[in-house]
Assembly symmetry: C2
Homo-oligomer: 241 residues x 2
Amino acid sequence: MQITPQIADMVEETPVFELTTEGLCRSILARHQDTICVRKTAIAVPRLKRILESALDLSNRGGFQAMSLRDLSRASGMSTGGLYAYFDSKTTLRKMSLQEVTDLVQRVLGKPPAAIAADPVAHLRWLIDTHLHLTEALLPWFTFAFMEAKNFPPAERRIAVDSEALTERLFAEVIERGVMSGVFRTDTSPMLPALIKPLLQEWYVKRPKYRRRGISLVSYSATVQDFVLNACLKDTVSGRE
Amino acid sequence: MQITPQIADMVEETPVFELTTEGLCRSILARHQDTICVRKTAIAVPRLKRILESALDLSNRGGFQAMSLRDLSRASGMSTGGLYAYFDSKTTLRKMSLQEVTDLVQRVLGKPPAAIAADPVAHLRWLIDTHLHLTEALLPWFTFAFMEAKNFPPAERRIAVDSEALTERLFAEVIERGVMSGVFRTDTSPMLPALIKPLLQEWYVKRPKYRRRGISLVSYSATVQDFVLNACLKDTVSGRE
DNA sequence: CCAGAAATCGATCGATCGTTCGATAGAATA
DNA sequence: TATTCTATCGAACGATCGATCGATTTCTGG
Protein backbone atom coordinates (compact mmCIF):
# COMPACT_ATOMS: atom_id res chain seq x y z
CA MET A 1 0.00 0.00 0.00
CA GLN A 2 2.17 2.80 -1.25
CA ILE A 3 1.34 6.44 -0.97
CA THR A 4 1.58 7.56 -4.55
CA PRO A 5 -0.51 10.67 -5.09
CA GLN A 6 -1.28 11.05 -8.73
CA ILE A 7 -0.03 14.17 -10.38
CA ALA A 8 -3.42 14.49 -12.04
CA ASP A 9 -5.10 14.95 -8.68
CA MET A 10 -2.87 17.85 -7.91
CA VAL A 11 -3.56 19.57 -11.18
CA GLU A 12 -7.17 19.89 -10.17
CA GLU A 13 -6.11 22.00 -7.24
CA THR A 14 -3.83 24.24 -9.30
CA PRO A 15 -5.43 24.17 -12.74
CA VAL A 16 -3.55 27.20 -13.97
CA PHE A 17 -0.49 25.27 -15.09
CA GLU A 18 -0.53 21.70 -16.30
CA LEU A 19 2.56 19.65 -15.68
CA THR A 20 3.39 19.29 -19.35
CA THR A 21 5.82 20.94 -21.69
CA GLU A 22 2.92 22.80 -23.25
CA GLY A 23 1.81 24.03 -19.86
CA LEU A 24 5.26 25.32 -19.07
CA CYS A 25 5.42 27.02 -22.45
CA ARG A 26 2.17 28.85 -21.73
CA SER A 27 3.64 30.00 -18.45
CA ILE A 28 6.83 31.14 -20.16
CA LEU A 29 4.84 32.99 -22.78
CA ALA A 30 2.91 34.85 -20.09
CA ARG A 31 6.04 35.67 -18.11
CA HIS A 32 8.02 36.96 -21.10
CA GLN A 33 5.32 38.89 -22.94
CA ASP A 34 7.70 41.78 -23.46
CA THR A 35 10.53 39.84 -25.07
CA ILE A 36 8.42 37.41 -27.11
CA CYS A 37 7.05 39.39 -30.04
CA VAL A 38 4.59 36.83 -31.34
CA ARG A 39 1.19 37.99 -30.26
CA LYS A 40 -1.21 35.18 -31.03
CA THR A 41 -1.13 32.48 -28.38
CA ALA A 42 -2.43 29.81 -30.72
CA ILE A 43 0.72 30.22 -32.79
CA ALA A 44 3.23 31.13 -30.12
CA VAL A 45 2.62 28.20 -27.79
CA PRO A 46 3.15 25.31 -30.22
CA ARG A 47 6.15 27.08 -31.78
CA LEU A 48 7.69 27.79 -28.40
CA LYS A 49 7.06 24.20 -27.47
CA ARG A 50 8.92 22.92 -30.51
CA ILE A 51 11.79 25.31 -29.87
CA LEU A 52 12.17 24.42 -26.21
CA GLU A 53 11.82 20.69 -26.79
CA SER A 54 14.60 20.88 -29.35
CA ALA A 55 16.72 23.16 -27.18
CA LEU A 56 16.45 20.90 -24.14
CA ASP A 57 17.17 17.83 -26.22
CA LEU A 58 20.26 19.31 -27.83
CA SER A 59 21.52 20.84 -24.59
CA ASN A 60 21.12 17.63 -22.64
CA ARG A 61 23.27 15.82 -25.20
CA GLY A 62 26.29 18.08 -25.48
CA GLY A 63 25.70 20.99 -23.16
CA PHE A 64 23.97 24.31 -23.68
CA GLN A 65 27.09 26.12 -24.87
CA ALA A 66 27.76 23.46 -27.48
CA MET A 67 24.30 23.91 -28.98
CA SER A 68 24.50 26.54 -31.71
CA LEU A 69 21.45 28.49 -32.81
CA ARG A 70 21.92 26.91 -36.22
CA ASP A 71 21.56 23.47 -34.63
CA LEU A 72 18.47 24.70 -32.83
CA SER A 73 17.02 26.20 -35.98
CA ARG A 74 17.51 22.93 -37.84
CA ALA A 75 16.02 20.81 -35.03
CA SER A 76 13.04 23.06 -34.43
CA GLY A 77 12.33 23.69 -38.11
CA MET A 78 12.63 27.44 -37.79
CA SER A 79 15.13 29.86 -39.28
CA THR A 80 17.89 31.32 -37.15
CA GLY A 81 16.38 34.74 -37.47
CA GLY A 82 12.90 33.49 -36.72
CA LEU A 83 14.04 32.11 -33.38
CA TYR A 84 14.68 35.64 -32.19
CA ALA A 85 10.95 36.29 -32.19
CA TYR A 86 10.83 34.05 -29.10
CA PHE A 87 13.89 35.25 -27.20
CA ASP A 88 16.23 38.21 -27.50
CA SER A 89 19.43 36.30 -26.75
CA LYS A 90 20.72 32.81 -26.16
CA THR A 91 21.18 33.67 -22.50
CA THR A 92 17.51 34.57 -22.18
CA LEU A 93 16.57 31.20 -23.65
CA ARG A 94 18.57 29.52 -20.90
CA LYS A 95 17.10 31.69 -18.17
CA MET A 96 13.54 31.05 -19.38
CA SER A 97 13.94 27.29 -19.03
CA LEU A 98 15.69 27.31 -15.67
CA GLN A 99 13.41 29.85 -14.04
CA GLU A 100 10.33 27.93 -15.10
CA VAL A 101 11.56 24.70 -13.56
CA THR A 102 12.51 26.18 -10.21
CA ASP A 103 9.20 28.01 -9.98
CA LEU A 104 7.28 24.86 -10.75
CA VAL A 105 8.96 22.84 -8.01
CA GLN A 106 8.05 25.39 -5.39
CA ARG A 107 4.47 25.71 -6.64
CA VAL A 108 3.89 21.96 -6.53
CA LEU A 109 5.80 20.90 -3.41
CA GLY A 110 4.60 23.88 -1.42
CA LYS A 111 0.94 22.77 -1.51
CA PRO A 112 0.45 19.29 -0.12
CA PRO A 113 -3.12 17.99 0.33
CA ALA A 114 -4.37 18.98 3.78
CA ALA A 115 -4.96 15.38 4.85
CA ILE A 116 -1.36 14.46 4.08
CA ALA A 117 0.23 17.52 5.61
CA ALA A 118 -1.22 16.56 8.97
CA ASP A 119 0.90 13.41 9.27
CA PRO A 120 4.71 13.90 9.18
CA VAL A 121 5.38 10.40 7.86
CA ALA A 122 2.82 10.69 5.09
CA HIS A 123 4.00 14.22 4.33
CA LEU A 124 7.62 13.13 4.05
CA ARG A 125 6.65 10.25 1.77
CA TRP A 126 4.51 12.61 -0.27
CA LEU A 127 7.34 15.12 -0.74
CA ILE A 128 9.69 12.41 -1.99
CA ASP A 129 7.14 10.73 -4.22
CA THR A 130 5.76 13.95 -5.66
CA HIS A 131 9.21 15.30 -6.41
CA LEU A 132 10.13 12.11 -8.23
CA HIS A 133 6.88 12.08 -10.23
CA LEU A 134 7.38 15.72 -11.09
CA THR A 135 10.86 15.19 -12.43
CA GLU A 136 9.74 12.10 -14.31
CA ALA A 137 6.95 14.00 -16.06
CA LEU A 138 9.31 16.79 -17.11
CA LEU A 139 12.57 14.92 -17.36
CA PRO A 140 14.38 17.03 -19.99
CA TRP A 141 13.59 20.21 -18.08
CA PHE A 142 15.10 18.96 -14.85
CA THR A 143 18.23 17.46 -16.37
CA PHE A 144 18.75 20.77 -18.13
CA ALA A 145 18.26 22.81 -14.98
CA PHE A 146 20.57 20.59 -12.99
CA MET A 147 23.37 20.51 -15.53
CA GLU A 148 23.31 24.12 -16.62
CA ALA A 149 22.66 25.87 -13.32
CA LYS A 150 26.36 25.69 -12.48
CA ASN A 151 27.34 27.48 -15.66
CA PHE A 152 25.25 30.52 -14.88
CA PRO A 153 26.73 33.88 -14.04
CA PRO A 154 26.73 34.39 -10.26
CA ALA A 155 23.65 36.61 -10.24
CA GLU A 156 21.41 34.10 -11.99
CA ARG A 157 22.93 31.11 -10.26
CA ARG A 158 21.26 32.28 -7.10
CA ILE A 159 17.91 31.35 -8.61
CA ALA A 160 18.91 27.70 -8.62
CA VAL A 161 20.68 27.77 -5.27
CA ASP A 162 17.79 29.48 -3.52
CA SER A 163 15.32 27.06 -5.06
CA GLU A 164 17.29 24.10 -3.80
CA ALA A 165 17.60 25.65 -0.35
CA LEU A 166 13.85 26.12 -0.24
CA THR A 167 13.20 22.51 -1.20
CA GLU A 168 15.57 21.38 1.51
CA ARG A 169 13.73 23.53 4.00
CA LEU A 170 10.48 21.77 3.17
CA PHE A 171 12.12 18.49 4.15
CA ALA A 172 13.65 20.03 7.26
CA GLU A 173 10.33 21.40 8.48
CA VAL A 174 8.52 18.10 8.06
CA ILE A 175 11.26 16.20 9.85
CA GLU A 176 11.30 18.71 12.66
CA ARG A 177 7.57 18.37 13.09
CA GLY A 178 7.97 14.61 13.13
CA VAL A 179 10.58 14.83 15.87
CA MET A 180 8.47 17.17 17.95
CA SER A 181 5.39 14.98 17.63
CA GLY A 182 7.40 11.98 18.78
CA VAL A 183 7.20 9.98 15.55
CA PHE A 184 10.82 10.57 14.57
CA ARG A 185 13.86 9.89 16.69
CA THR A 186 15.19 12.87 18.61
CA ASP A 187 18.73 12.03 17.51
CA THR A 188 17.80 12.27 13.82
CA SER A 189 20.76 13.81 12.01
CA PRO A 190 20.27 17.51 11.27
CA MET A 191 21.95 16.78 7.96
CA LEU A 192 19.24 14.40 6.78
CA PRO A 193 17.24 17.04 4.84
CA ALA A 194 20.36 17.86 2.83
CA LEU A 195 20.96 14.20 2.00
CA ILE A 196 17.49 13.63 0.56
CA LYS A 197 17.94 16.00 -2.37
CA PRO A 198 20.80 14.10 -4.06
CA LEU A 199 18.74 10.92 -3.85
CA LEU A 200 15.96 12.64 -5.77
CA GLN A 201 18.34 14.19 -8.29
CA GLU A 202 19.91 10.79 -8.87
CA TRP A 203 16.69 9.63 -10.48
CA TYR A 204 16.69 12.10 -13.34
CA VAL A 205 20.41 12.71 -13.63
CA LYS A 206 21.11 8.99 -14.07
CA ARG A 207 17.78 8.17 -15.69
CA PRO A 208 19.21 5.98 -18.50
CA LYS A 209 20.95 3.79 -15.93
CA TYR A 210 17.70 2.91 -14.16
CA ARG A 211 15.88 2.50 -17.44
CA ARG A 212 18.54 0.03 -18.52
CA ARG A 213 18.10 -1.94 -15.31
CA GLY A 214 14.33 -1.99 -15.62
CA ILE A 215 13.81 -0.17 -12.33
CA SER A 216 10.46 1.60 -12.25
CA LEU A 217 9.76 4.99 -10.74
CA VAL A 218 7.42 3.38 -8.23
CA SER A 219 10.02 0.99 -6.86
CA TYR A 220 12.71 3.69 -6.82
CA SER A 221 10.40 5.99 -4.91
CA ALA A 222 9.52 3.29 -2.41
CA THR A 223 13.20 2.49 -1.85
CA VAL A 224 14.15 6.09 -1.21
CA GLN A 225 11.18 6.58 1.11
CA ASP A 226 12.19 3.57 3.18
CA PHE A 227 15.82 4.62 3.10
CA VAL A 228 14.97 8.02 4.49
CA LEU A 229 12.42 6.84 7.03
CA ASN A 230 14.91 4.29 8.35
CA ALA A 231 17.12 7.23 9.25
CA CYS A 232 14.52 9.08 11.28
CA LEU A 233 11.60 6.81 12.18
CA LYS A 234 11.54 5.34 15.69
CA ASP A 235 10.31 1.92 14.59
CA THR A 236 12.50 0.52 11.86
CA VAL A 237 10.80 0.34 8.49
CA SER A 238 10.88 -3.15 7.11
CA GLY A 239 11.60 -3.64 3.46
CA ARG A 240 8.77 -3.79 0.99
CA GLU A 241 6.40 -6.12 2.83
CA MET B 1 35.79 6.33 17.66
CA GLN B 2 35.46 6.89 13.96
CA ILE B 3 37.14 4.82 11.30
CA THR B 4 38.93 7.48 9.34
CA PRO B 5 41.91 5.96 7.57
CA GLN B 6 44.35 8.66 6.69
CA ILE B 7 45.06 9.11 3.02
CA ALA B 8 48.73 9.30 3.96
CA ASP B 9 48.68 5.71 5.17
CA MET B 10 47.39 4.53 1.85
CA VAL B 11 50.04 6.36 -0.09
CA GLU B 12 52.66 4.23 1.57
CA GLU B 13 51.09 1.19 0.00
CA THR B 14 50.85 2.67 -3.48
CA PRO B 15 53.77 5.08 -3.56
CA VAL B 16 53.76 5.38 -7.34
CA PHE B 17 51.16 8.13 -7.45
CA GLU B 18 50.65 10.69 -4.73
CA LEU B 19 47.16 12.03 -4.26
CA THR B 20 48.08 15.53 -5.30
CA THR B 21 47.68 17.55 -8.44
CA GLU B 22 51.39 17.17 -9.07
CA GLY B 23 51.12 13.41 -8.71
CA LEU B 24 48.28 13.27 -11.21
CA CYS B 25 50.27 15.44 -13.60
CA ARG B 26 53.17 13.01 -13.44
CA SER B 27 50.79 10.21 -14.24
CA ILE B 28 49.29 12.16 -17.12
CA LEU B 29 52.74 12.94 -18.46
CA ALA B 30 53.66 9.26 -18.44
CA ARG B 31 50.40 8.22 -20.05
CA HIS B 32 50.55 10.80 -22.85
CA GLN B 33 54.24 10.66 -23.72
CA ASP B 34 53.40 10.58 -27.40
CA THR B 35 51.20 13.67 -27.50
CA ILE B 36 53.17 15.79 -24.99
CA CYS B 37 56.28 16.94 -26.80
CA VAL B 38 58.14 18.40 -23.84
CA ARG B 39 60.80 15.90 -22.96
CA LYS B 40 62.30 17.04 -19.68
CA THR B 41 60.17 15.99 -16.73
CA ALA B 42 61.54 18.72 -14.48
CA ILE B 43 60.03 21.28 -16.83
CA ALA B 44 56.96 19.44 -18.07
CA VAL B 45 55.46 18.54 -14.68
CA PRO B 46 55.25 22.02 -13.12
CA ARG B 47 54.05 23.50 -16.42
CA LEU B 48 51.42 20.84 -16.85
CA LYS B 49 50.38 21.41 -13.27
CA ARG B 50 49.86 25.12 -13.84
CA ILE B 51 47.95 24.45 -17.04
CA LEU B 52 45.62 21.86 -15.51
CA GLU B 53 45.03 23.86 -12.35
CA SER B 54 43.98 26.81 -14.46
CA ALA B 55 41.92 24.65 -16.81
CA LEU B 56 40.02 22.98 -13.98
CA ASP B 57 39.42 26.29 -12.26
CA LEU B 58 38.09 27.99 -15.38
CA SER B 59 36.01 24.99 -16.41
CA ASN B 60 34.43 24.60 -12.99
CA ARG B 61 33.29 28.21 -13.13
CA GLY B 62 31.62 28.43 -16.51
CA GLY B 63 31.93 25.03 -18.11
CA PHE B 64 34.63 23.48 -20.25
CA GLN B 65 33.16 24.69 -23.54
CA ALA B 66 33.02 28.26 -22.30
CA MET B 67 36.72 28.24 -21.45
CA SER B 68 38.64 29.48 -24.47
CA LEU B 69 42.28 28.60 -24.99
CA ARG B 70 43.02 32.31 -24.76
CA ASP B 71 41.49 32.34 -21.28
CA LEU B 72 43.58 29.32 -20.41
CA SER B 73 46.73 30.86 -21.81
CA ARG B 74 46.19 34.00 -19.77
CA ALA B 75 45.45 32.09 -16.55
CA SER B 76 48.32 29.66 -16.92
CA GLY B 77 50.84 32.27 -18.07
CA MET B 78 51.61 30.46 -21.28
CA SER B 79 51.00 31.46 -24.89
CA THR B 80 48.17 29.90 -26.84
CA GLY B 81 50.64 28.20 -29.14
CA GLY B 82 52.76 27.01 -26.25
CA LEU B 83 49.82 25.16 -24.76
CA TYR B 84 49.83 22.82 -27.73
CA ALA B 85 53.13 21.36 -26.54
CA TYR B 86 51.08 19.68 -23.80
CA PHE B 87 48.02 18.54 -25.73
CA ASP B 88 47.14 18.26 -29.39
CA SER B 89 43.55 19.45 -29.08
CA LYS B 90 41.15 20.86 -26.55
CA THR B 91 39.31 17.55 -26.56
CA THR B 92 42.49 15.73 -25.53
CA LEU B 93 42.89 18.13 -22.62
CA ARG B 94 39.43 17.18 -21.44
CA LYS B 95 40.04 13.47 -21.87
CA MET B 96 43.35 13.64 -19.97
CA SER B 97 41.68 15.11 -16.90
CA LEU B 98 38.68 12.82 -16.87
CA GLN B 99 40.60 9.63 -17.53
CA GLU B 100 43.03 10.39 -14.74
CA VAL B 101 40.29 10.87 -12.19
CA THR B 102 38.41 7.69 -13.02
CA ASP B 103 41.61 5.67 -12.97
CA LEU B 104 42.57 7.09 -9.61
CA VAL B 105 39.28 6.15 -7.97
CA GLN B 106 39.61 2.55 -9.05
CA ARG B 107 43.25 2.34 -7.97
CA VAL B 108 42.51 3.70 -4.50
CA LEU B 109 39.15 2.12 -3.71
CA GLY B 110 40.16 -1.23 -5.16
CA LYS B 111 42.86 -1.83 -2.54
CA PRO B 112 41.53 -1.68 0.99
CA PRO B 113 43.86 -2.62 3.88
CA ALA B 114 43.60 -6.36 4.50
CA ALA B 115 42.48 -5.90 8.10
CA ILE B 116 39.57 -3.73 7.01
CA ALA B 117 38.49 -5.83 4.06
CA ALA B 118 37.82 -8.72 6.42
CA ASP B 119 34.94 -6.96 8.17
CA PRO B 120 31.99 -5.88 5.95
CA VAL B 121 30.96 -3.06 8.28
CA ALA B 122 34.47 -1.64 8.51
CA HIS B 123 34.94 -2.13 4.77
CA LEU B 124 31.74 -0.29 3.95
CA ARG B 125 32.70 2.56 6.26
CA TRP B 126 36.17 2.61 4.72
CA LEU B 127 34.81 2.83 1.17
CA ILE B 128 32.61 5.79 2.05
CA ASP B 129 35.23 7.58 4.08
CA THR B 130 38.06 7.00 1.64
CA HIS B 131 35.97 8.14 -1.33
CA LEU B 132 35.06 11.33 0.51
CA HIS B 133 38.65 12.03 1.53
CA LEU B 134 39.81 11.34 -2.01
CA THR B 135 37.37 13.81 -3.53
CA GLU B 136 38.22 16.36 -0.86
CA ALA B 137 41.94 16.16 -1.62
CA LEU B 138 41.35 16.58 -5.35
CA LEU B 139 38.18 18.63 -5.35
CA PRO B 140 38.57 20.50 -8.66
CA TRP B 141 39.34 17.26 -10.50
CA PHE B 142 36.18 15.55 -9.32
CA THR B 143 33.84 18.45 -9.89
CA PHE B 144 35.26 18.69 -13.39
CA ALA B 145 34.85 14.98 -14.06
CA PHE B 146 31.30 14.98 -12.76
CA MET B 147 30.14 18.05 -14.65
CA GLU B 148 31.83 17.40 -17.95
CA ALA B 149 31.37 13.65 -18.28
CA LYS B 150 27.87 14.18 -19.63
CA ASN B 151 29.09 16.40 -22.43
CA PHE B 152 31.39 13.76 -23.84
CA PRO B 153 30.81 12.07 -27.15
CA PRO B 154 29.21 8.65 -26.59
CA ALA B 155 32.43 6.70 -27.06
CA GLU B 156 34.33 8.55 -24.36
CA ARG B 157 31.37 8.86 -22.06
CA ARG B 158 31.63 5.17 -21.46
CA ILE B 159 34.82 5.81 -19.50
CA ALA B 160 32.86 7.71 -16.89
CA VAL B 161 29.85 5.41 -16.92
CA ASP B 162 31.97 2.28 -16.56
CA SER B 163 33.96 3.84 -13.75
CA GLU B 164 30.82 4.68 -11.85
CA ALA B 165 29.45 1.20 -12.43
CA LEU B 166 32.65 -0.28 -11.04
CA THR B 167 32.51 1.88 -7.94
CA GLU B 168 28.94 0.82 -7.39
CA ARG B 169 29.98 -2.80 -7.72
CA LEU B 170 32.49 -2.35 -4.93
CA PHE B 171 29.65 -1.28 -2.68
CA ALA B 172 27.42 -4.08 -3.90
CA GLU B 173 30.03 -6.74 -3.19
CA VAL B 174 30.69 -5.54 0.34
CA ILE B 175 27.00 -5.38 1.13
CA GLU B 176 26.44 -8.84 -0.30
CA ARG B 177 29.22 -10.21 1.85
CA GLY B 178 27.70 -8.52 4.85
CA VAL B 179 24.34 -10.12 4.14
CA MET B 180 25.85 -13.56 3.67
CA SER B 181 27.84 -13.30 6.87
CA GLY B 182 24.72 -12.36 8.79
CA VAL B 183 25.75 -8.83 9.76
CA PHE B 184 23.40 -7.11 7.31
CA ARG B 185 19.68 -7.67 7.00
CA THR B 186 18.62 -10.15 4.35
CA ASP B 187 15.95 -7.74 3.12
CA THR B 188 18.50 -5.02 2.41
CA SER B 189 17.40 -3.19 -0.71
CA PRO B 190 19.30 -4.32 -3.83
CA MET B 191 19.22 -0.68 -4.85
CA LEU B 192 21.25 0.50 -1.86
CA PRO B 193 24.64 0.39 -3.65
CA ALA B 194 23.27 2.73 -6.32
CA LEU B 195 22.00 5.17 -3.70
CA ILE B 196 25.36 5.55 -1.98
CA LYS B 197 27.09 7.16 -4.94
CA PRO B 198 24.93 10.32 -5.10
CA LEU B 199 25.53 10.83 -1.38
CA LEU B 200 29.27 10.85 -2.05
CA GLN B 201 28.94 13.08 -5.11
CA GLU B 202 26.85 15.52 -3.10
CA TRP B 203 29.92 16.36 -1.04
CA TYR B 204 32.02 17.73 -3.87
CA VAL B 205 29.26 18.89 -6.18
CA LYS B 206 27.71 21.08 -3.48
CA ARG B 207 30.98 21.75 -1.63
CA PRO B 208 30.40 25.52 -1.18
CA LYS B 209 27.10 24.82 0.53
CA TYR B 210 28.68 22.71 3.24
CA ARG B 211 31.59 25.10 3.61
CA ARG B 212 29.11 27.89 4.17
CA ARG B 213 27.36 25.87 6.88
CA GLY B 214 30.61 24.96 8.59
CA ILE B 215 30.07 21.24 8.14
CA SER B 216 33.37 19.35 8.20
CA LEU B 217 34.31 16.40 6.06
CA VAL B 218 34.57 14.22 9.16
CA SER B 219 31.04 14.91 10.31
CA TYR B 220 29.63 14.55 6.79
CA SER B 221 31.38 11.23 6.41
CA ALA B 222 30.08 9.99 9.76
CA THR B 223 26.54 11.01 8.86
CA VAL B 224 26.58 9.22 5.52
CA GLN B 225 28.11 6.12 7.07
CA ASP B 226 25.37 5.96 9.69
CA PHE B 227 22.73 6.74 7.10
CA VAL B 228 23.86 3.82 4.95
CA LEU B 229 24.41 1.37 7.80
CA ASN B 230 20.94 2.14 9.14
CA ALA B 231 19.61 0.81 5.85
CA CYS B 232 21.39 -2.53 6.02
CA LEU B 233 22.69 -3.22 9.52
CA LYS B 234 20.64 -5.60 11.69
CA ASP B 235 21.10 -3.58 14.89
CA THR B 236 20.14 0.02 14.36
CA VAL B 237 23.05 2.41 14.43
CA SER B 238 22.65 5.03 17.10
CA GLY B 239 23.68 8.59 16.36
CA ARG B 240 27.31 9.64 16.44
CA GLU B 241 29.29 7.92 19.24
C1' DC C 1 -10.28 38.90 -53.38
C1' DC C 2 -7.33 42.27 -51.53
C1' DA C 3 -4.77 45.35 -48.44
C1' DG C 4 -2.32 45.47 -44.15
C1' DA C 5 -0.44 43.22 -40.36
C1' DA C 6 1.93 39.38 -38.38
C1' DA C 7 5.31 36.03 -38.65
C1' DT C 8 9.21 34.02 -40.74
C1' DC C 9 13.11 33.78 -43.55
C1' DG C 10 18.18 33.54 -44.75
C1' DA C 11 22.06 36.20 -46.26
C1' DT C 12 25.23 38.76 -43.73
C1' DC C 13 27.96 41.14 -40.02
C1' DG C 14 31.75 41.50 -36.68
C1' DA C 15 33.64 38.81 -33.06
C1' DT C 16 35.71 34.91 -31.35
C1' DC C 17 36.87 30.24 -31.61
C1' DG C 18 40.53 26.18 -32.02
C1' DT C 19 44.58 25.50 -34.34
C1' DT C 20 48.92 26.25 -37.02
C1' DC C 21 53.58 27.69 -37.87
C1' DG C 22 57.74 30.32 -38.68
C1' DA C 23 60.49 33.08 -35.57
C1' DT C 24 62.82 33.38 -31.16
C1' DA C 25 64.80 32.70 -26.78
C1' DG C 26 67.11 29.61 -23.57
C1' DA C 27 69.71 25.51 -22.20
C1' DA C 28 72.75 21.81 -23.17
C1' DT C 29 76.66 20.02 -25.64
C1' DA C 30 81.20 20.06 -27.51
C1' DT D 1 82.37 30.36 -27.36
C1' DA D 2 79.91 28.26 -31.10
C1' DT D 3 76.33 25.03 -32.20
C1' DT D 4 72.47 22.18 -31.74
C1' DC D 5 68.29 21.13 -29.70
C1' DT D 6 64.39 22.20 -26.76
C1' DA D 7 60.70 24.96 -25.37
C1' DT D 8 57.96 28.96 -26.05
C1' DC D 9 55.96 32.66 -28.38
C1' DG D 10 52.24 35.38 -30.80
C1' DA D 11 50.56 36.75 -35.25
C1' DA D 12 47.64 34.74 -38.51
C1' DC D 13 44.08 31.42 -40.74
C1' DG D 14 39.71 29.44 -41.74
C1' DA D 15 35.61 28.13 -39.50
C1' DT D 16 31.84 29.07 -36.76
C1' DC D 17 29.51 31.65 -33.44
C1' DG D 18 25.44 34.88 -31.77
C1' DA D 19 22.91 38.38 -33.55
C1' DT D 20 20.79 41.68 -37.17
C1' DC D 21 17.62 43.26 -40.66
C1' DG D 22 15.45 44.08 -45.05
C1' DA D 23 12.89 40.90 -47.98
C1' DT D 24 9.36 37.53 -48.21
C1' DT D 25 5.67 34.64 -47.02
C1' DT D 26 1.46 33.69 -44.40
C1' DC D 27 -2.51 34.97 -42.19
C1' DT D 28 -6.57 37.92 -41.29
C1' DG D 29 -10.39 41.30 -41.49
C1' DG D 30 -13.27 43.79 -44.53
